[in-house]
């Protein structure tokens, strides 16, 4: 009947030394105990209210006990909230976690800092009913119709009539100036240091919320107007990023206005005036922007990601769209996460590559520009798939709890991978610059040298990490998962044996663990093989031709990208093309 069972009473009685408490007495006591407890809690709630709090603390219970002339319970007065643990096997039983603390630790610990003393600060919460946008005030909510926009007229019969006036939004002079200055900078002078300062200010200032609708409007307008002005677009995207970074701004209500502009910068048919404009970079920047928006507002704005994905997939799968559009769509999808790559790109990969192939070949596509674009798209695809595979591998090691050694080697592999990536990024920077010269300047003069560099680079990498063992030779016809496993395991073996002297002992275990992992993830094995097939076969052809091609740096760029992925990626890359390179 009572929430306090009689067993509890018996236990309490025993704990205070009454061993022969009769069952009847316990039964009679139980309801009274509940009543007293409720009474104390009622008083405790009063004490809480009179301390202007909304959370009950141990102090409140203590003062309630004092009110009832009961000795307070000692030992719970520490400030922090109490942590209750659920007792295993009981539904409604909780206990307080009471950790053992070593006295030594307490003694050795440095003295805690003295708490800061109480102080009073003063600020304007409102000036004539309007809240100034200062850091002390809560960030202004979405701008709604100010109350004075609604004027109530008292007619003769005293019936109040609501008249809704158009919302008048008051902007202070300073804010107006600020807005004008920033927009002017973005449009005219986006390379200046001042603009960089402006971006920092946009990302940190707390009082900018009133300007957000104006900024979104401005960005949307300028993007639609200035599609062939690449620096402007880039500047605008930077402004978007800064606004997103600003913690004081609640940008969510304006996303619907911002998103079209940003998505345009990803998948637009043409961006920039000249063919040489590096719109690829802009697309990538915008894609990352969109991904960050999705990560931040995905929860609140649930349809955001689905709508965006739909848009991107449409752009990707429609063959009538231009290649840059495809490039943007692929970048966007891969930025949104490896899951999307798996679900949306991989199933269509084979078909798509088939379509793309003729565009990339010299004999079938005479337009140099088109070919160049096709290679870019190809690079993006490679990168998306590579990233996906990389992510797959990244989550694998922790799955394995027993293999400590594996973890260690895994860590080593990763660090080396990181180094490699750094190298390649430098390398690719170099490549990019060389690419620019290659296109603008005399091609033949530059190409060989850069190519040479690339080949040495890549061979170097191949030597250092992925020494191809005979079994992992050019056997693209094998398409079982086991092959993938083998090649993978052996590749790792090879890497390990070249770097670590005592790794031979580890090897069997390593391979078995990896096998185990691969069995866990059968899909990935299959996938890897299909990928290697798909790209590998093209790669062979491409390698043959590319030596003679003018766009070689493009390929090597992609190659490098591939190489730069972790050991896993290297494995399938080597699987496909390294032997050829060695020929």
């Amino acid at each position: 009947m009572s929430i306090v069972p009689k067993e509890t009473i018996e236990v309490i009685a025993q704990s205070i030394g009454i061993s022969n408490l009769s069952a009847d007495a316990a039964l009679a006591l139980a309801p009274d105990v509940e009543y007293r407890m409720r009474e104390i809690m009622q008083e405790a709630v009063k004490c809480m209210r009179h301390s202007r709090r909304t959370v009950l603390t141990a102090d409140d219970v203590d003062s309630a006990l004092k009110l009832k002339n009961v000795e307070p319970i000692y030992g719970f007065a520490s400030g922090g909230p109490l942590r209750f643990r659920k007792a295993i096997g009981h539904k409604d039983l909780f206990y307080l976690e009471d950790k053992d603390i070593d006295i030594k630790d307490v003694i050795d610990a440095p003295l805690p800092k003295a708490p800061l003393d109480t102080a009073v600060l003063c600020h304007w919460l409102a000036i004539e009913g309007v809240q100034p946008a200062i850091p002390e005030n809560a960030p202004v909510q979405v701008i709604s119709a100010p109350s004075d926009g609604k004027i109530q007229q008292q007619k003769d019969d005293k019936l109040p009539v609501d008249i809704k006036l158009p919302v008048r939004h008051v902007l202070s002079r300073e804010l107006q100036l600020y807005f004008e200055k920033i927009t002017e900078l973005a449009v005219r002078n986006s390379e200046s240091i001042l603009f960089k300062e402006a971006l920092v200010s946009l990302a940190t200032d707390s009082g900018l919320h009133p300007l957000v609708p104006y900024f979104t409007c401005f960005i949307a307008d300028e993007v639609s107007r200035g599609l062939n002005d690449l620096p402007l677009l880039l500047a605008l995207m930077r402004v978007v990023r800064s606004l997103l970074l600003n913690a004081h701004i609640n940008i969510e209500p304006y996303l619907h206005q911002l998103m079209p502009a940003v998505v345009t910068c990803i998948v637009a048919k043409r961006l920039g005036k000249r063919l040489s404009d590096n719109h690829w970079e802009l697309r990538e920047f915008a894609a990352n922007l969109v991904a960050s928006i999705c990560r931040r507002f995905g929860q609140v704005y649930t349809t955001l990601q689905t709508r965006l994905t739909k848009q991107l997939v449409n752009a990707f799968l429609n063959p009538s769209h231009s290649l840059p559009t495809h490039y943007g769509a692929i970048q966007g999808l891969s930025a949104l996460g490896s899951n999307l790559v798996r679900l949306l790109i991989l199933p269509n990969l084979e078909q798509y590559v088939r379509l793309l192939e003729p565009e990339m070949l010299l004999e079938q596509q005479k337009n140099k520009m088109k070919r160049y674009e096709a290679w870019h798209v190809y690079g993006a695809l490679l990168r998306a798939c590579g990233q996906f595979v990389h992510n797959r591998f990244k989550i694998l090691p922790p799955l394995h709890s027993s293999g400590r050694t594996l973890m260690r080697t895994g860590a080593r592999v990763i660090t080396s991978g990181a180094n490699k990536r750094k190298m390649t990024s430098e390398n690719s920077d170099h490549l990019r610059s060389s690419k620019r010269t290659a296109i603008d300047g005399p091609i033949t003069a530059v190409a060989p040298s850069s190519l040479q560099e690339v080949t040495t680079n890549s061979t170097l990498r191949v030597d250092s990490s992925a020494v191809p063992s005979p079994s992992s030779g050019p056997t693209p016809s094998n398409n079982g998962a086991v092959v993938g496993v083998e090649s993978e395991a052996e590749d790792r073996d090879g890497g390990a044996s070249t770097t670590a002297s005592n790794s031979s002992r580890l090897n069997p275990r390593l391979s078995t663990t990896i096998e185990h992992i691969w069995k866990d993830d059968f899909d990935s094995g299959n996938l890897l093989v299909t990928l290697s097939e798909l790209f590998g076969s093209h790669w062979k052809k491409r390698i043959m031709k590319s030596v003679l091609e003018t766009h070689d740096e493009c390929i090597s760029y992609s190659m490098n990208l591939m190489i730069s992925r972790r050991a896993s990626l290297r494995s399938w890359a080597s699987h496909g093309w390294t032997p050829q390179l060695a020929h």
Partner: protein
């Protein structure tokens, strides 16, 4: 056989009731009768037998309560819509008494089962009461617990129309729910009114009617809510508007440059400067217009004679108040006040209360470590003007560290209490502070000497609230011991003790004319007491949880009360009725304050916001309008959210600048 049955029943009955003599007599008589002729007795009416049987059955225990109540309930729910709400109102008292009857008869198990099966019906309206009732677990608790005791010994008043009443009685008699009938007869006092049932909207005021005295009867007493004769406001008006206008024009001319310098000076809160700022009244025209009716209403308000001997005001003070009144900004629904916010930082959850002096220059905080700390904001403003510059770049760190950077403490520490301080109040001139504590004492401190002057002992339990009267000298306190007391500064014994609340008296407030005080209590009522006689003159019923804050409008006509759930109710003191509930806050309303001309009400809440309400519109609306829910939205003029700072206190200065204070609480 039937006869025997009846005899047995009668025997049982007598036994049970302990009528031993009667039992013996009955037995004797029975024996006598059984010998000669048993036929004469068999005349007994079968109806009577039935009735007796049913009576016995109904006495037989818990099932009758459960069944009876569930029947009554289903009947009430399926009754005609027009009368339904009236009939439903009967259910709650019946429910409560059924439960208590069961408890008192010792059927604890059954009582709990009964309670649990029907509690959901009443949770919404009477959640708090149910919690209390639920804890009753033995007959002795019924006697002990105030609430149950009170329910048992008073009658609930229920108003209903003639027809519903007839319906109810008919039903009960027809179905022979004698248990229910008994409870209803015993514990409910019906006020049958002829004609149509009352509209649902009236329910607000007459919701919980377990009042000891008849609230209406009390409310029939006359209350003189007018302002005092010969007040400063009057004198100001008599002195003529001629003085007023040039002053005002001067202020207008001066203000722009003052304004500029003000903005630069780190928002230092020197009252003079800030008031000048707030005086910036862009809509001169509208301000002037709004003034006219305001003046009228002040004239309309009746004047009353003071019942207390009032302290004499010095000429200088008078002069400064007059000056303030002349410079007052007129606030209306379109001209909102400026709000200066004092944020307590690094309080470590220890700040229990705060108060701000009339001119905003002093801020006091009462802490749970028994100390009272007083900040002089005028001085603090000067200090921060120099050190605040580097703090501006790095707001969070710079400002938080500021208190410690100064080698001297930035506040005056007043120590003396031996328990958490629950309330502080400034005298009207700011030269004294009163603090009330859980150690059941009230202490008087001087802000000039920074020492304790007097300790007032009288309450037996924690003193929850203390308030200086508007003229100073007198003060009122309220306590856990269910009394409110009125004191004067020069006596250590209370002058009056107001007893009558059924639970803790949580807050207290003076009427502007000093003849009355209002008290809010955990028993969910607000009472108004005559200070000179100590009598209760009004009971305001309608809140659904503990009352935390009270404010009375400056013209003395309206009162606002805020409760634990975030509801604010506006009352007309003359009639004792609720004008309108103001909904909007989502958590405890810690503080309420009327603007000086009474046109705006400001409320501060634990939901980290200050809300401004339009009083004039709230009060003028005819009752019929209120049914449409949209109007309550209109009454809220503005919500000013703070940055995770619950608002502990609000105070309009004489010039209508609103001061607010709260303690910054860490999120999460």
């Amino acid at each position: 056989m039937e006869e025997e049955g009846i005899e047995k029943l009668v025997m049982n009955y007598l036994k049970k009731k302990g009528f031993k003599q009667a039992e013996l007599a009955f037995q004797e008589e029975l024996q006598q009768q059984s010998q000669p002729n048993s036929t004469s007795n068999s005349l007994s009416d079968p109806d009577i037998a039935k009735l007796v049987l049913s009576f016995n059955e109904s006495e037989s225990g818990p099932p009758s309560y459960h069944e009876g109540y569930s029947k009554l309930r289903s009947w009430a729910y399926s009754s005609l819509d027009l009368y339904k709400h009236e009939l439903l109102r009967v259910l709650y008292p019946v429910f409560a008494h059924c439960f208590m009857d069961l408890i008192s008869l010792g059927y604890l198990q059954e009582a709990r089962a009964f309670f649990n099966s029907f509690r959901d019906d009443h949770v919404m309206m009477h959640g708090g009461d149910l919690m209390k009732l639920e804890s009753v677990l033995s007959p002795s608790h019924l006697e002990e617990m105030e609430f149950a005791h009170y329910l048992r010994h008073t009658k609930a008043n229920i108003k209903m129309c003639q027809y519903s009443y007839d319906l109810l009685l008919q039903y009960l008699q027809k179905t022979q729910l004698t248990t229910m009938l008994g409870i209803i007869n015993e514990h409910i006092n019906f006020k049958v009114s002829p004609g149509q049932p009352r509209s649902i909207s009236d329910d607000v005021g007459v919701d919980i009617l377990f009042t000891a005295e008849d609230a209406n009867q009390i409310s029939a007493k006359e209350i003189q809510w007018g302002l005092l004769e010969d007040s400063l406001e009057d004198r100001l008006e008599k002195a003529g508007t001629s003085l007023f206008e040039p002053e005002r024009a001067d202020g207008e001319n001066k203000e722009p440059d003052v304004d500029e310098s003000k903005k630069k000076s780190t928002e230092g809160s020197k009252q003079n400067a800030s008031v000048k700022k707030s005086k910036k009244d862009k809509t001169v025209g509208s301000g002037g217009k709004a003034m006219l009716p305001e003046v009228n209403t002040v004239c309309v308000a009746p004047r009353v004679k003071p019942e207390l001997t009032l302290p004499v005001m010095s000429a200088e003070v008078e002069q400064s108040i007059l000056e303030d009144l002349r410079n007052r900004v007129q606030l209306t629904s379109t001209a909102l006040p400026s709000v200066s916010f004092y944020t307590f930082i690094n309080t470590h959850n220890k700040l229990n209360c705060s108060s701000i002096s009339q001119d905003g220059s002093l801020v006091a905080g009462g802490f749970s470590d028994s100390s009272v700390k007083v900040w002089d904001m005028a001085k603090a403003g000067q200090q921060t003007a120099t050190s605040g510059m580097q703090g501006e770049n790095d707001t969070s760190n710079g400002e938080l560290g500021m208190g410690t950077n100064n080698r001297k403490r930035s506040y005056t520490l007043l120590q003396g209490h031996s328990g958490p301080v629950h309330s502080t109040t400034f005298s009207p001139l700011g030269d004294f502070i009163l603090s009330s504590s859980a150690d059941s004492t009230i202490r008087l401190w001087s802000t000039k000497l920074n020492t304790n002057l007097v300790c007032y002992k009288g309450h037996n339990y924690p003193v929850w609230d203390v308030k200086f009267s508007p003229v100073g000298h007198y003060f009122a306190s309220s306590s856990h011991d269910r009394t409110a007391r009125v004191w004067s500064m020069d006596r250590i014994q209370p002058l009056r003790i107001m007893a009558g609340h059924l639970s803790d008296v949580d807050c207290v407030q003076w009427h502007p004319n000093c003849n009355y005080i209002a008290t809010g209590s955990s028993d969910k009522t607000v009472r108004m007491w005559d200070v000179s006689s100590g009598e209760c003159v009004r009971i305001f019923i309608g809140h659904r949880s503990m009352i935390l804050s009270l404010a009375i409008s400056p013209e003395g006509r309206y009162m606002a009360s805020g409760d634990e759930d975030g509801t604010i109710m506006l009352w007309d003191l003359a009639t004792g009725r609720c004008l309108t509930p103001l909904m909007g806050h989502t958590s405890c309303v810690w503080t309420l304050s009327f603007s000086c001309e009474g046109s705006l009400l400001a409320s501060g809440s634990a939901d980290c916001s200050v809300k401004l309400w339009d009083v004039t519109r709230s009060t003028k609306l005819p009752r019929s309008e209120e049914k449409s829910g949209s109007t309550s939205r209109l009454r809220s003029l503005k919500t000013l959210p703070t940055k995770s700072t619950p608002v502990y206190t609000l105070q309009f200065s004489r010039r209508n600048l609103l001061f607010a204070a709260g303690s910054l609480s860490k999120i999460g």
